[in-house]
Structure formats: structure tokens, C-alpha cells
Symmetry: C3
Subunit: 652 residues, 3 copies
Amino acid sequence: MTRQRLGVCYYPEHWPQSRWSEDAAMMKETGLSFVRIGEFAWSRLEPSEGAYRFEWLSRAVDTLHRAGLKVVLGTPTATPPKWLVDKMPEMAALDANGRSRKFGSRRHYCFSHEGYAQECDRIVEHLARAFGAHPAIAAWQTDNEYGCHDTVLSYSPAALQAFRRWCEAKYRSIETLNEAWGNVFWSMEYRSFDAIELPNLTVTEANPSHLMDFQRFSSDQVVAFNRRQAQIIRRHAPDAMILHNFMGAFVDFDHYALSDDLDIAAWDSYPLGFLERSSHDDDFKLRYMRVGDPDFQAFHHDLYRACGRRGWQVMEQQPGAVNWAPWNPAPAKGAVRLWTFEAFAAGAEAVSYFRWRQAPFAQEQMHEGLLLPNAAPNEAYHDVAHISKELDALNAQVETARAPVALIFDYESAWAWRIEPQGQDFSYFDLVMCFYRALRRAGLSVDVVPPTAAAIADRTLIIVPALFAPSYDFAEALAKSGGTVLLGPRAGSKTGDFQIAADLPPGVLRRIIDIRVKRVESLRPGARITLSGHGAFVRWRECLTLGEGVAPEFTSEDGETALARSDSVFYLAGWPDEELLTNMLRRVFLVAGISTLDLPEDIRVRDNGAMRYIFNYGATATDISALVAEATLLIGERLLESCGVAAFRRRD
Amino acid sequence: MTRQRLGVCYYPEHWPQSRWSEDAAMMKETGLSFVRIGEFAWSRLEPSEGAYRFEWLSRAVDTLHRAGLKVVLGTPTATPPKWLVDKMPEMAALDANGRSRKFGSRRHYCFSHEGYAQECDRIVEHLARAFGAHPAIAAWQTDNEYGCHDTVLSYSPAALQAFRRWCEAKYRSIETLNEAWGNVFWSMEYRSFDAIELPNLTVTEANPSHLMDFQRFSSDQVVAFNRRQAQIIRRHAPDAMILHNFMGAFVDFDHYALSDDLDIAAWDSYPLGFLERSSHDDDFKLRYMRVGDPDFQAFHHDLYRACGRRGWQVMEQQPGAVNWAPWNPAPAKGAVRLWTFEAFAAGAEAVSYFRWRQAPFAQEQMHEGLLLPNAAPNEAYHDVAHISKELDALNAQVETARAPVALIFDYESAWAWRIEPQGQDFSYFDLVMCFYRALRRAGLSVDVVPPTAAAIADRTLIIVPALFAPSYDFAEALAKSGGTVLLGPRAGSKTGDFQIAADLPPGVLRRIIDIRVKRVESLRPGARITLSGHGAFVRWRECLTLGEGVAPEFTSEDGETALARSDSVFYLAGWPDEELLTNMLRRVFLVAGISTLDLPEDIRVRDNGAMRYIFNYGATATDISALVAEATLLIGERLLESCGVAAFRRRD
Amino acid sequence: MTRQRLGVCYYPEHWPQSRWSEDAAMMKETGLSFVRIGEFAWSRLEPSEGAYRFEWLSRAVDTLHRAGLKVVLGTPTATPPKWLVDKMPEMAALDANGRSRKFGSRRHYCFSHEGYAQECDRIVEHLARAFGAHPAIAAWQTDNEYGCHDTVLSYSPAALQAFRRWCEAKYRSIETLNEAWGNVFWSMEYRSFDAIELPNLTVTEANPSHLMDFQRFSSDQVVAFNRRQAQIIRRHAPDAMILHNFMGAFVDFDHYALSDDLDIAAWDSYPLGFLERSSHDDDFKLRYMRVGDPDFQAFHHDLYRACGRRGWQVMEQQPGAVNWAPWNPAPAKGAVRLWTFEAFAAGAEAVSYFRWRQAPFAQEQMHEGLLLPNAAPNEAYHDVAHISKELDALNAQVETARAPVALIFDYESAWAWRIEPQGQDFSYFDLVMCFYRALRRAGLSVDVVPPTAAAIADRTLIIVPALFAPSYDFAEALAKSGGTVLLGPRAGSKTGDFQIAADLPPGVLRRIIDIRVKRVESLRPGARITLSGHGAFVRWRECLTLGEGVAPEFTSEDGETALARSDSVFYLAGWPDEELLTNMLRRVFLVAGISTLDLPEDIRVRDNGAMRYIFNYGATATDISALVAEATLLIGERLLESCGVAAFRRRD
């Protein structure tokens, strides 16, 4: 078992070398174990072509090492320097309007540009050769936040050529592609792979099959880009962990697929920025403006835990106000500690703060750090010192037990319903979050997993909302799982080619519940399909015909089956409002034999092995005695303060 | 007299040939009389340049023919195939931002590109030659929904050259154009026709005269494009009807002008999609989400009836949920029947449903049809079978009586007030709809007509809202019409050159009412110019000086004439709210000697010859006994159900 | 002392020459003293290259002269003719999307294009030579509304080259620039000035230092463009005044800097259009829709008074409804007079109306004038005649006393907080307006001035909200000023390089109050930091540490210092709501020894020398006896009507 640790992100190149050892000593003293460095430093590592300047980085690593800190070294490929861009201007991505995305910030490259990929090979090779054997370097981070600033999709000539080859490799014959995409519609048929265009700037919307394959291709390009770096690093640093720092509410590429080339899935957790950017209403945003959505971070912890083959962690934890949301309030007193323990409760290897010291210059000068720009300790500095001591006292470990409840999250589905929402507010991410929130409010610990047989083995309950195009194998696995299964609206409604499932939705899922979706409709805000006393459908509803062995469990007032059941398989025929969600899940939990907790509104619970954590996201102190019962609290009080964290060992 | 018929849109190329005869048999059995086919099939009719493949289409036509169905054959020019686009990439339209509008959906062509026009000549010529004499083919449809997806205006080099020649032909000398446009303003004078630019990407708004001529030119290009096809078809199929399928709330080209080359004006009626895309508020949209705006379809029936020289029809009737609106609910039970009879009540030759069978692939896979994707009957299939029997029982005929009330609708006016709204929410279309709705709620059948002498002959009441630049001849015709005339705000306010009318508005209309508009103002939401007890002006008001023989009929509380009257001519000096509209029209009806009906809120009435139809757009059953009186209902009940239709023969 | 005068804008080229003398006679008779002409007439002055046609302009000037009117002659450089644009198409500005901004309206040029600048030199030289000695010409206007329609920033190749040279001149070495901008961040370092790019189309936001320097450069280009014209005119017309007509709420270039080359700062005052385009809420806009924001015009009068070295004036005063706002209502009865006297009360040399006669053609045909399009007098014509008589009766003079209160307004600060708002609704202009409004509602006359030592000498109170990067000299001047000083949020928070101020904000201002800003946060709408009984912070708040001699004057309920005080220096740590603003200023006034007036809500007061003016912006008559006391009203009544103006001589 592994002790849970704290880290920080640091940019030695931003500060005089004379300051480094003092910084390192302070880090160590605060209880930090490791430091991430290097990931934007290309212009300092290679100020002009081939003129490598690694000495300063060596000195920085050595300084940290001497202070007893480990290092996560980032490859600098998210920020190619100007001389490189000037050498090959066509390495830029083009946006959907055909405009070249220029130098002057970061991520100014197209994933499909082979010339740039070779430059990355080169700089990574040099770095890995120079630092691969350094004893301080515990892990390597590839690039930084792939896809940030909408950079996955590029409409460049390089992307066009690569997409044509990708299509050719997938379909072999152009007739097969035309058939798969249904190109007979609107005479969209191609006569060769070289006639295929990218799906931007079309007169009206492009073919959804075309859009879906372009999205898959684009995701594959990110995965391939990352793999080249991972392979080079592994050659030179076979014992180091390889990781990448993912983002929140970000689905532009398949994180499961990319993680196959990583050891650790890391992510960057900015609860307040994410809340501001979310689709929540103003009341919700106001209410949680200083603590964040109580379920958003937990969801991502549970998702990225499924991604990391050898662990997961938070790479960038918000430590104060940030600079990039529409509004940037400061965290509530205690919120940084709350967020940190939420991650550890979900089994994080580490939580690392972004950043050590607030930079006084450039784009992120308004982003707070553990230190103020003048090097004085900021609030979070003291928080971290305190958390470090608590971790020691708890002897907090990474646990790896499997949760009884699995919630399927699938990147293709996210793309599918973005391509074809059918109702303006149909968001796959939001729908999955609805289910997640309801499960968490029932006190359940959840695994968020891909739609694979392995992921659903040994689950008591498997929830499958809006799964775009499940494979036959996955349908089989569901059939054999032994667990209770809840299928959501739109599940199984398409084939992988983005056609309506054969003999109507839910297609291959009819294997487990014999229904047909004969009609779907999207509902504008205010429109509700009511179920007497059970809540209502909003946004989306379906009309079913029920086959053998299927009975209506809930029925709408207009006479349609709202919840169908066949033994331990349920199908929910719409987007539930909160009331329906609660009532429906109560029925499902009963069948699954799952017992739940009765939690006060802003209280959340998470088990990490035998350790149970309780969190208070509310503005007032709340009595949690009923949840603690006879147990002894290791941290926290029975009257749990706002932003408070309690922990105890469960007897069972 | 002609029996009113039912039809359907069908894409044999989407389905195996083995299925065609079963489809045809089902169509016939359901009571359908004709089938539209072919309009997007270019890539199947000519898979590569000059390689014509018409055999399959022949087989499809023959199959339908054998089943006793007539055919409307579409030309495929809305969807040029990829090989053609690759041959002449400059055939693409450019959008107002100068971006080429790419292949990948439909309508990817510029109306001004002569090379593409010649390709269209060629394919239409081949098709007309091959099918012109086929006994099954009753009509030809040119292209499909001209202008859909904002395709009328193109800013391509081809459009620029053609616009320069169009200006030259219109103005002869550049001095005349400079004078007409007022180019002395801001030194915008041109020294030759070749110096003229298109009015996009200007630093601030372009000259309204420039914009207006560009809009006229663009409309003319559509008309000319259509005329080429019509002439070719007439040569080869002299007895067939030629039609085009227009859209709703669409004014980008002059439909009257284009219809001069057609026999039948058809239109595509999607009540729920149109409602969602309209400017109505959320309450209205929620209330009518499953039945559509009670007056929108009727307005278009009455408009396109004026367009069709030899008749009009609905070519695409929504049969279920569609895929293209912000939200896409299913129609209410009975709504498809309601919409169908509303069209027949307005004198439609035919109502044709879109589409026969829902396609499982490509852009419209979420658009419902009469059949489900798996070929099982969908709800509308049964509706249609029922409607067919009712039509037989009614022996429903196309009647062609002239309505006593004429409402002027003018495409130039729509362009003018889009170019110069002066207040952000001044919409010509919405203003005309206000009047139309009020007339219809008074139980009146209305003709929506162009501003021509012929159109207003023998009318009891002529309503002329916001007519941009009436001709002297039209003013004369109004003077001599003998009917009561109601002029609306902005009527006659400009010359055809888009200059303020000589000696102030209403310009030539001063011929019939001696007033001058000395001031106009637009009013933000919430601002109201009240008339004690008579309602208020919103959005727009004018201040008048009254000449000889003109008296104020209504006066605003701030002392301005709100409704001026000179004998049987009225001028309304603003945009009326609902209350003012009702009160004002009551006064006008009295003068005109028009009697009205007192209709419950969601009840509508329409006469087709001696047949009176009553429609219930409300959510609850409504007693219509007072409207039926002693007559015998041929369909429907006196307690008319939600979405119900009643019909009876009037005694008078 | 100078008598305050009236003028008008006139376009002789729009009307037949036969009309000119009648227009001139009417102008004179109405009481107008001068006429602005010529500023858009290039295509008439030089219809083709080198073919100068000045005769008509001579005749127009002579005609006005003979009628006893003075002339302000505009240079026509805002509207280069088509032949010139065709000769050098690359003179166009590019917008931030890289699109060329085309001919067809006005201002279609890039300030950095040397070729166009030379063409301007040429036409101005010819005009100045021809008319420089004409006795009628009292002043010259350069160009027209620099920057209108977003034309200051251009992303053209010419701008890029000029920006590189500008950077080189400023920084000398590229290392210095890299250091100043903090380009080590994200590897944005440049290796030469020729590698610098413009800050548009970057993947995410560009470096704020980069954006700030581009904004400074762009402002400098405008100043330089204007200086060339001013120098040419001065050579040929050494005695004429040179002026330019600025706009309202417009900060895209530094108006103080540009004014150094002018004699008179003029501005174009459109109270209703500005209100519609402002950030006020709908209630406010509805309430003042016919009279405008009661403080907006006054603010600009007070600002441009600081700009004009030898005076200031209103060049274009709205006389009726305009054409360019979202909604365009007519002014209230009396509003034109109200606006006119508000300008004179602030010391305007002149108020000139736009325009003489409404043009029936082109873009501004819906913009009212003193005459209607048919030459009949419009309402404002009569207003002007009346005002003229009142001015005579008052013998109204330009007074030049210094106000005791100085409010700092700084263009760099406006750019800075637009570049880095940090909270979506942080607007520097709006913040300064908050303070201005509060001062004006307290009955104070205010000078709006730049942050210079000279501007703050001899002030009782100096208010410095959000001053971006005060110079050390300015901080020194504040220290020595002897007046009470109120620093606002964000004041002194940055260095001129756009880095966080050394040792934390307020940087050099710590010289006068020993505090440090340890945290800032932006607050979403609805979020409030309350001070018990004193109001609240909204939008923005800061947390301070207090040094020696600094005490909290107000404290927030969460325990932070809200208003810090050190002797006569205050620092306000947030954006005050109206209640806090009032309470806080009351405290500041007390310390400063400033006495205020207790004004009814819509009443405003302004002193011009010994003359005190009282204005009623409200909808109802209001008793102002308490304000008038024993004085004798020269105009107006003690029960001051809506839109009323009263004036009297103060005894003190």
C-alpha cells in the first residue's frame, strides 16, 4: 500500500536561481513530497534550434533533490518556441472557420502535423536521455492538458490528409464508407478517399457519421501523439511513472484510450472555475461559489481512477482564486482542505497544488499560488502545512477496493449527443452527472467506468445512461453480469456507424430487455411529462413498446411506459427530474439490494477501504452523529463545520 | 373542379429495390394518390461525369405507376455530387464573411455561377428527355427549397461580376446609380460599374440602397436559375405541371416573381419546427408546442395560393417529430389531421407528407415518417388512412372564390425593414402576421396578395402594413378600389431607390389620404404610447400632420393622431398591441361593412367555397354550437375536441 | 471671456446649390453662429486622382460667409474615395479575424498604412492651401470621429511591421521586451523584433503585456495620424483653431495625448443613442429613454474640458431620433434644450447640432435634423431658436474656474481592465462613472483629469479609482497635494509593463498609504460582501494588510478592512454598491471639508463661474426652491418642469 502524498507545481525558470534552494526548503518544510517542473520551458531548454540548454534544469532538479523532494518532469511540447513555429508555420491548427491559430499563448500546434511530431520526438528524446536516470525523477508528464483551448479538432491540410488515410484504413473501400455513412442521402457519395472533406464550413450540418468519424480520428491523433512521447520516455526511464494531466468536464478525446499508454492518470481540479463555467443555473453557482459543485470533483476522481492503470492523482489543485473563469472568487476558508481530502477519500495517490508562487507576469498573473508574488505565504500555504500533518496522523493510504455500483461513462457517447443533441439542452455529460449526483446523495461510493465487460464484472448495480452504440460483447456482458442493470434514455439507440439501431433502439440491448423505442421527443424548458406522484420527464422522453417479459414499472399520465422492467433490468424512458430520479432509483436499489444513507443536503460520504470520510459542502455546521454512530472520529467533529472533513474507520 | 388529394415524399434510392413494390402497395392502400421522388439523387443518376444511370429511376417510376400512383419528379440540382464540385470548386457560394461554403450537406452552389447553371441545364435536359413523356409523371419539381440554409445571398466572385452587370442593366450610367443610392454621402461614389463592391465586410453598415439592390439582384438570380429549368422541362413535358416547394417564414427571394414560371406553388409545412424557430415568447411556444401556431400555416396557405398560377399545395407536411428545431416534440394526437384539413380548407390541391419512411442514416435520421425505420407503421400512417377516408366522404374539392379581405404581403418590404429596422424588433413578417392573426380571430377568410392592381380588385377591405415603396399605379388602384383601405405604419415611406419618400411619407399614398409623417420613433420593450382605453403602440410610432379631409379617429394620450381617417381610408400611425389592434379593426370593419365572428380563443374558421371548416387548436374540447347553428356537421362534433376539425355547408 | 455660441453641421454637397443661400439665411436667423462642413466630401473634392474640384466648396463657404456665419472645415480623410482604395487595396484595416474591412461605408483605412497617410497629407495640404486664409474659416476639424466602428485596432501587415518598429524603439533589445512581458511564461520568448506577432488569433488569450503594448501602439498611431494633419493645417492656417470631434464612452486611444495637437476638444453628444448602447439595465433605459442618462453627458463635458488646450465644445448634438441605436426614440419635449444648457453649464465654447437637414438617402436617412427632409422645420429647429434667445439674455460666457474635486480618468487603465477584467463585469469606465454619478448627486462640480501632477494641484479632493500603473511622480504629487485622496480598488496594482506591482499592490501608492493587497476576487451578480449598515461590495473586493499609521475606517462582516485610512488618504477595497458609495463618500467629504447639496433624485446642479445651473432630468416638475434660496432665477421656475433648466448667479 502507498502513502498518500502532497506535491506542488513549480517554475524555476520564472525565478532567480538564487531563490531556488529557499523555495525547496520551504516546500519540504510544508510537508510537500514532490514537485512538477519543466512543462512549458522549451524556449529555455532550446533557445534556438539545436542549442540545448539543460544545465539550468539540472541545477533545479538537483536543488529539489537535495531538499528531499521528488520531481515530476514535464515534456515542453505544449509550448513550441517561436523559432520552431517560424520554421514550419503550417504546423498550426486551423479552427473550424479555417483560421490559423497563431503563436502567442500555448497549444499552437496541430496533432496531425508530422513535422511537429518529429520535433517533439527530438526534444523528448534529448530530455529523456539527459534526465531519464536521475534519481530524483519519479515520474514524467507528457505535454500539458491535451486539448485545452479547443485544440483537439483541427481543420488543417495536415489533418485533412491524415483523416483521409484514417478513413481508408478503417473502411478499406470507399463504397463501404459511403454505405456506413449513408452518403446516398443528399448525394454525398464520395468516389475515392481523396475526395473526402473535413466536416467544417458545410452549408448546413454535416453528416453525423462524418462528424463522428472525424471526432474519432481526432481523438486517435491525440492518443498517437502521446504514445510517441511515452515510448521514448520508457526507453530512457523504464522505471519512472508516465502520466498526463487531464482536465475536468472535458471529453474531446478518449481518455481511457490515451491512458493505456500511461501509468498514472492525473487531473487538474479547479472546483470554482469549473462551477462558473458549468451549465448550472445562477442560484446554484451563487450558492456554491466558494466551495464548488459538491459532486463535480468526486465524479472526476471516480472517472480518472478508472483511467489510471497504476494509480491516479490530482496534479493541479486550485489553491486560491484563479484567473480564467467568468468570475473568480476566493475559496471559502477550509475549501482547499475539503477538496484535498475528497481526492484522498477517492483513493488519490497524491494531490499537487498549482502553483507554488504566483507569477507577477503574463497570462496567469492573477492565478493565486501557495506563495504570494512577493514570496510571502498565502492562505493555502498554511492549509497545506496543516493537511500534511493530518495525513501523517491518519497514515492515509491508497486503497483499491471495487465499488458495488458502476456508472458507465463513454467518450463516444459524449461525442454522439453533441453531434446530434436533438434537443438543445441534451448533454450527455449533464445526464451522467444527474445519475452520479443522485447516487452520491444516497451515500454510495461509485466507480465511473467504460462500457467493457471487465469494468462491470462483479457489480451489484450497473447504470448505463444514453450509451451511444454498445458492442454486442458489452450487451452480452450485461446479460451475464448478475447485477441489476439500469439503462437510461437513448441507450443503444445507434450503431457504431451512427445509424439508428437495427429494428429500432435499444438495438443490441434488446438482448437484455425486450423493448422497442417507437418514438423520441425533446422537450423545451418548462415542458414536463408527468408521472402522478413520481416526478416527471424533462428535456427528453421516449415511447416504448414492451415485448415479452417486460412490464411497466412506472407509467406517465399520458399512458406511456416511463420505467420498464424485465427481471433485474430496467429501462428509463426519459430524462428524469430530481423527484423522478430519486423515486426511480429507490425502486432500483430495492431490486439490487443496495442500502443507502439518509444524508443532509450538503453532506457527502466516501469510503476509501475501511476509512469513511464525511464532507460538509454547506454553509453551516451540520450534525453528522447519525452517520458516525459509535465510531471514533479520527479527524473532524460530530457537529461538522462548514467545509469540514470527518474521518473514521468503519467496523464492517 | 378538382378533388383534393394526398401524397408522400419517397426516396427509392435509400431502400433495396426489392422493397419498392411493397411500399407502393402500402401507399396506395393508405389512400395516397401521388409520390414525389428524385430530388436529391444526382450522385445516383450520374455517378461520374456523363455516366447517366437512369434505369433505377425508371424502375421506381414504373413500380409506382403500376400501383396506381402518380409521380412528382424532382430535379436533383440542390445536391451536386462531389465530382462536379471538385471539377469547379469556384461554384461554391461565399458567405458574408468571405468563407467558401463547402461540400458535405446540400445547396452547396452559388446561384450566379454560370458553369454550375450549365451543368444543371445538362442534367435537367437529360432527365426531362428521359421522363418527360412518362404517363405516371404528373408534375416536376425544380430543385428543392430554394434558399434554404441562407443560400440566396452569395458573396462570391461570380456574384460580384453578375451584380455589376445587373446594376449596369438597371441604371445604364454610373451617375444614375450614384444618384439613386445617394452615394455622395460618405464619398461612396463609384466611377464605373466595375468599381462596385458587394455590401459585405464593410466597416460599418453598407448603404441601404446598395443592400436593397443586392437583395433584388440575388432574388432575380434565383428566379433566373429556376426559369432555366422550367423552360427545359416545358420543352420536353409540355403537359406536366411545374412546381417548386417553398418554405415557411422565408422571404429571401420574391416568391411571386419565381412563381410566374411555375404552375403550382407548393410549400413545406412544419408547424412545430416553425414555432420553435419563431420569435414568439416562451409561454406561447410552450402552450402550442404540440400543435403549432394556430395562424402560421394558414397564413402561408393564403400567401402561396396567391403565388400558384394554376393551384397550390403542401408538398411536405410534418407527420411527427422533426430533427432540425431547437427542440423537437411530437405532434399532439390529431394534429397531423388538423394541419391537413387546414390546408384543404384553404383550397390546397393536395397535401403530401414528408417522408414515407424514416431513414436510419445521415442528417435526417431523427425526422419521423409515416413508417418507422424498421418499416412498421408510425402514428401518422394511421392518421393518413383516416384522413383519406374522410376526404372521400366529404368529396373535398378545390374552390377558388376570392376573399373579401386582402392583406398585402410584399417581399421588397420584408427586405427593406430587415435592412433598416430602425428598432431592433421591427420585423415586417411579424407585423403582417399581427394583422393576419387579428383577421383570422375575427373569423375572416383572407387572401394574402402582392401590391398589384389586379390583386386588390373587388375587395371589401384592403390592409397595407409597412409597404416599402408602393408604385404610383398601386396607389391609383387603391384610390379607385372602392374598398375600405387600412394603411399601416411605414407604408409608402420610401422610394424604390430606398430614399425617404418625396415630401415625406407616405409618399405616393398621400394620393389617398392627405397626411405627412413628420417623425418616427422605435420603442424598446416596455415602452408604450397609450391611447386611453384603446390599447397602445409598441415597438414603433409615428407623428402625423393631417391635411385636408383627414380627421383623427384615435388619438394618443400625448396628443398625436394614432389612427387617421379620410373617408374609407385609414392610416395607423404605429405598431398596435393586441388591444389596439382589436379596437382599431372593429372601427375599420364597421366602415367596411364587414361582419365578424365571435370565436373562442383557440378556435379558427375557414371557408372553402360553401364549405366552412372549424378548427380547435386548444388543449380542451370546446362547444362550437353557436358557430354551427342549424347546419349539419359533415365531420366533427359540436363539442369539438382538442385538435378537432368540423365541417359543414353554409346555407348562404 | 468668450460668448457661448451655437452651430450646426451641414453638407452642401447633398443639396442643390440653389438651396444654399436659403439654408444660410435660415441658419443665421435661427441664431446659429457657425457651420461645420466638408468632412466627408473627398469624392467631390477630388473625383479622380489629382483632379481637384474645390470650386463648389469655395462657393459654399462664401455663401455661408456672406450670411454672417463662420465655418469649421473638416478634412475628408475618414472617407477615402473608391479610386484611392482601388489604387492601394492594402490600405484597408484587417479585423481581429484577419478579414479585410472593405469599402462601402466609412473609415475604411488602416492608421499604420504609410501610403494612405501620404494621400491624406496631399489632400489636406491642398485644402489647407486653398482655404487656410479664408476669413470665414474659424477652425479646422481633422478627419471625423477617430476610431468609430472599432477602427483603432488593425491587424494588417502594415500594422504588424509598424508594431515591430514601435517595440524596437521602446525596448531597444529583444531581451528587455521578453523580460518586460514575462515571455519566459509559456515559452513565448522572441529572438528578434521581427519575430513579434500581433496578438490576435492566438489559441487562448495573448499575454496582457503584449495586448497592452499593442493597444498603446495603436493609440500612438492615431495620435501620429492626426498630428500630420494638424501640422499641415497650422502651416497654412496659423490662426485657425484645430479641433477633432471625439465620441462618448470611447476609450480606444488616448484622448489626452491626441489633444496635445489640437486647440479645441470637441465631442459628439447623442444622449439617447448612448443610453441604449450602455450597460445600464432595462429599467434604467426605459426610465430615461427620452432624456438620456442624467450624468453621462456631464461626465464627458468634464473630461473633454481637460483635453482641450484652448477650449472644448459639443460638435454634434443630437436634435431628434437617431438611426444607429438598438432602439431610437424621440427626445422628450425640452430635452434638446436641457442637453444644450448642460454643455454650456460645463463651460462649452459652443454647441453644434447634427445635422441641419435630414438627408433622404444613404445610411443616415433616419437621423433627424433641424429641418425635415422636405426642408420644413423640425421640432429642434424651434428649440434652437429659443435657446439662442436665452443665451443672449443670459449673456452666457465660457468660464474657466478649477473645480475643488478632481476625478482621475486614465486611458491606459481602461485598456488594462478590458485586457484583464478578472471578473466579467469589471468595467473601468463604469467604475469611474459610479464615482462621478455619486459626486454629481451630491451637487458637486467635478473636473475629470489625467493622472498628472499638474492636474491635481490645488484640489480639495482627488479620487483615483482603479488607476492601472501610476508613475512614481504621480504618487509623489499625491503625497504632496495637500488634498484628501481616495484611492479605489485596483489602484496601483500593476507596473507599466503589466506586471503585478512590486511587493504587491498598490505599488508606488504605498508611498501615501502603507497597505498591501494580499488577495483580490471578482464576484458574480448577486454575490455581496456586506458591511453592517454601510452597504456592500459587489463585483470586486480586496483583502488588505495594514501597515503603520493605517486604520480600518469600515470593516466587512467577514472581518476584512473595507475602507482603510491613513490621515487624509483613503483606500477603498472593492466595488461599492450605491449605499456603500454614499456612506463612504460622506466620510471622505467630512475629512476633506467639502459640503454637499441634498438634491432630489433627478435634479442636477452645475456651476459655470458664478452661474449656477439646475437641471431636471425627471419626468415630473420638482420644487427647487431650497436650492435657489434667495437668488433670482434668470431662466426657469422654482417649480422646475420636466426637462427644465434654471439658472441664477450665486452670491458667494
